[in-house]
Symmetry: C2
Subunit: 334 residues, 2 copies
């Protein structure tokens, strides 16, 4: 008699069995900041300095990820990374994450568990744990993450506060995630694009650069999630300044060997990825010109007074449209 | 020439326009607990006692709500209520909410804005504000809410801690939401079920009863989200006790005039709704028998030592299966 090894679905296993399997697979061990862990009505975390920093982001299958491109664990990893980068962009350190996961009942249990393994691994990479969640049925996979963070007594680094004369500096990569997405969309699977595809699937934001920027007295900070021009546009408008990027610094970023290899393979211009690609979650901000930049930051421009044409971003003094970047919605069909 | 007044879709308007419309419609005014408000990488809230209580719940269109039954604002209201009830069940007060909302591009902008109005109104009813969010495209509407809370220096009320001899007491309603769901499913729209339908669409958890229970020294507390038997089963197992419900107290709950009217109209047994209906988010817990119960709590049973057959729930000494209640997943089709 042959035994059957058909994969079990989430619907067959049920919510509690899947959660138990995921918890067993992802137990991160004790964390002194966790007062009440997952499994009760709510979790309780320490908030050492009397504040909590919080943000949320949702990833939708077919829209923000495709399971023929991403392994399930990649999806979890990315969902954590983009939230933890927002915490870092305030100058805070992540202290915990909650996760709501929706999937169709016919989803293989292993897919649901692997997504949660990726969430746990991503959380560990960001220095914290998943402390609570929800698992529900939907027509497509949806991962919603909320990240909590601790400013450790520092003032929050908002988008406002950049002053004329400040140095604009960046930590982390630019354009790699966008190049990887272009390679995946083009069906390119060669070694020339391996590094950028990995960067797209598993972004590695420079988390420590956020608190370091705060300790160095940064005036403003943002993570590059919509594209460099678009995100610096947010700082320019919130701070009522013009931000002028240094064309030579951008050219150096575009000359990165991985970007050049991908650009040659795909016939694209790497500078477009550098200016409008968002998914690397680098951190970019404004620093007093007298400040020694924290490790990992490179100067890429300067804050200027806004002229009569308003607060915006220029490259070498010339205005660039904030083209590209991420759009949350496709134009709806008629 | 006739002017066209076709409704604008979320896809046509775009993410930022919809968010701006929602923010304008829902501005709750200043809150001294909000250090950094929506619109930056993350929000910053005060966490007065050095801890933060956090939980998350996701509602999916067609699964947790139907827009032919619920007004869009009802959906937002309910998403907040079930999260805020979890915060109250820890003995905490809500301090803020983050929301991730997914919807199809062809969704009418007014639907997206009304959902967010409902979220804002639900948050105000719970004594706090929405401080951040995300809006993305998906194939169906998904609302994911994370609630943050402040224990105000009290110890968290977990599911563990109930001791033999304690009084089991309930604040809030039982079975009304389940009765309302039964009426909606049966297509009953008469006055006999109007009250329970409203209770299903807009649950009104007794938020203040959570902190009141904590101040009264409650041993354990949970919100009734899966059904009274199922949720007290969580306390019984976490506390390693048996919980014996008083049949007369349950009969009194089932004799509620709104439940009786609905039961007569639908030909159902109101006691089933009382024992297995979850969506009213009442708060039920264990109190030292010497304690004066806080306002709003009614005794409904007693904690007993667990016998050789384990930790579970009985009614008048007889074990009841934890039937009914909410299942996150339908059994998957083959």
């Amino acid at each position: 008699m042959q035994s059957q090894h058909s994969p079990q679905t989430v619907g067959q296993a049920g919510e509690f069995a899947v959660i138990a399997a995921a918890v067993a697979a992802t137990d991160g061990g004790p964390d002194p900041r966790v007062v009440v862990d997952t499994g009760d009505d709510a979790a309780v975390l320490r908030a050492g300095d009397g504040t909590v920093t919080v943000c949320t982001d949702m990833l939708v299958e077919g829209r923000h990820f495709r399971l023929d491109w991403s392994a399930p664990a990649d999806v979890g990893h990315k969902a954590i990374a983009q939230n933890a980068a927002d915490i870092a962009a305030m100058g805070a350190v992540p202290t915990g994450f909650t996760v709501a996961l929706a999937c169709p009942a016919e989803t293989d249990v292993r897919v649901a568990v692997e997504i949660q393994r990726g969430l746990a691994a991503g959380a560990a990479a960001a220095g914290a744990r998943v402390v609570g969640g929800d698992l529900v049925q939907a027509g497509q996979i949806v991962v919603s993450v909320t990240a909590l963070g601790d400013l450790q007594g520092r003032a929050p680094l908002t988008r406002a506060g950049a002053r004329p004369g400040a140095t604009v500096a960046l930590a982390g990569r630019l354009g790699h995630g966008a190049a990887g997405l272009a390679a995946l969309a083009a069906g390119h699977r060669g070694p020339e694009t391996a590094a950028v595809r990995a960067a797209h699937l598993r972004p590695a934001p420079p988390y420590a650069a956020g608190p370091a920027a705060a300790r160095a007295g940064a005036q403003a900070l943002i993570d590059v999630s919509d594209g460099l021009l678009a995100d610096l546009g947010h700082i320019a408008r919130a701070s009522s300044v013009r931000i002028d990027l240094d064309a030579a610094a951008l050219a150096r970023a575009a000359a990165d060997p991985d970007l050049r290899a991908a650009a040659e393979a795909l016939g694209d211009d790497p500078l477009d990825w550098v200016l409008t690609g968002g998914e690397d979650h680098g951190l970019v901000g404004a620093f007093d010109p007298q400040t020694r930049l924290p490790d990992g930051f490179t100067p890429i421009g300067r804050v200027r007074a806004a002229g009569p044409d308003g607060a915006h971003v220029t490259v070498g003094g010339t205005r660039r449209a904030e083209v590209g970047g991420w759009r949350a919605f496709d134009a709806a069909a008629e």
